[in-house]
């Protein structure tokens, strides 16, 4: 029974990914691509990805931007509020290492200075497919999660 429960949980966690998004001083570029990933052309909802309005509901925190001092503490608070198991995904060159803003006086070098990051998606901005790929990689934990052979047409 216990193994059934845990199998069920594993199954469910791979198919239901609720994300919350924080803009920690980004340029909007990454943010619109996250939104675009949810819109009809890319439709991340196919994979069970849903954008939720509260960090309490979320499994995955998507962070974009260079993390300036005003947003740093706020990002930490949002992370605090997420229930376990929680994951953080850094999206975009800015969130990974400051990107093109690297030596501006008001930015940090990557959000991993504030919260532990599980997955990095580089790009400026990463295209929606890259974000979908990243989320899939996060939940499956495999290096190349693209299910080329599987024909899910729904």
């Amino acid at each position: 029974m216990a193994s059934f429960r845990s199998g069920l949980t594993q199954w469910a966690r791979k198919r239901s990914i609720w994300v919350f998004h924080v803009n920690a001083a980004s340029c909007n570029g990454c943010d619109i691509e996250i939104l675009a990933a949810l819109t009809p052309r890319y439709d991340a909802e196919r994979l069970g990805v849903e954008l939720v309005p509260s960090p309490r509901h979320a499994d995955v925190l998507l962070v974009t931007g260079t993390l300036n001092p005003l947003m740093r503490d706020r990002l930490k608070t949002v992370y605090e509020q997420m229930p376990e198991p929680r994951h953080v995904v850094a999206i975009g060159a800015c969130a990974l290492g400051g990107g093109v803003m690297k030596d501006c006086y008001n930015v940090g070098h990557g959000i991993d200075a504030a919260v532990p990051v599980d997955l990095y998606i580089p790009g400026c901005p990463p295209r929606p497919e890259a974000i979908i790929f990243g989320i899939l990689k996060l939940v499956t934990g495999t290096p190349d999660p693209v299910m080329a052979g599987e024909a899910h047409v729904g």
Binding site: L67, N68, P69, L70, D103, C104, Y105, N106, V107, G108, H109, A113
Partner: protein, 155 residues
């Protein structure tokens, strides 16, 4: 450049004891800091020139230059003044031109120029509230971005 509106500018400049430099697209009207409000109001009341594009702060070495850009048609009219770094203080034009409020607040934040009479006087607009007091305003030449980042514990 249309002569009709250039002439009133000349008159305004003469009245304020300023200097007028017509450049390619921009007519520069240099005045004393104490006359800025009058100059700005004078320019803004010229036909079509009511639009204040923005206010720019420039570090000129031991002075901070302040430029008020007005726009009409194919030209800019820029009122230019400068305040010394040792006493960076100037009267706000926000009372006469409300559009200036946020632009002045930005310069106050980034260059440390005090604008007397601006609603944001003494408040932060762009920088964090706990921006280190010992750090110089970030846009001044003497400010070192590396040091500021360290002071704000970003590294």
């Amino acid at each position: 450049m249309r002569r009709t509106s250039a002439d009133p500018l000349q008159r305004l400049s003469a009245k304020l004891g300023g200097a007028l430099h017509p450049e390619r697209r921009t007519t520069l009207l240099t005045v004393d800091p104490s006359k800025v409000e009058e100059a700005c109001l004078g320019v803004a009341s010229l036909p079509g020139l009511y639009h204040l594009s923005t206010i720019t702060g420039v570090d000129l070495g031991d002075q901070i230059g302040i430029l008020y850009h007005f726009w009409e048609g194919r030209r800019f009219v820029t009122v230019k003044t400068a305040v010394p770094k040792t006493a960076p203080r100037i009267r706000s034009v926000a009372g006469a031109l409300p559009a200036a409020t946020l632009y002045e607040a930005e310069i106050q934040d980034l260059f440390g120029v005090a604008f007397d009479g601006n609603p944001y006087a003494g408040k932060r607009l762009l920088l964090p509230d706990d921006y280190p007091a010992e750090a110089p305003p970030p846009m001044r030449k003497e400010a070192d971005p590396e040091k500021i980042r360290r002071m704000m514990k970003l590294e």
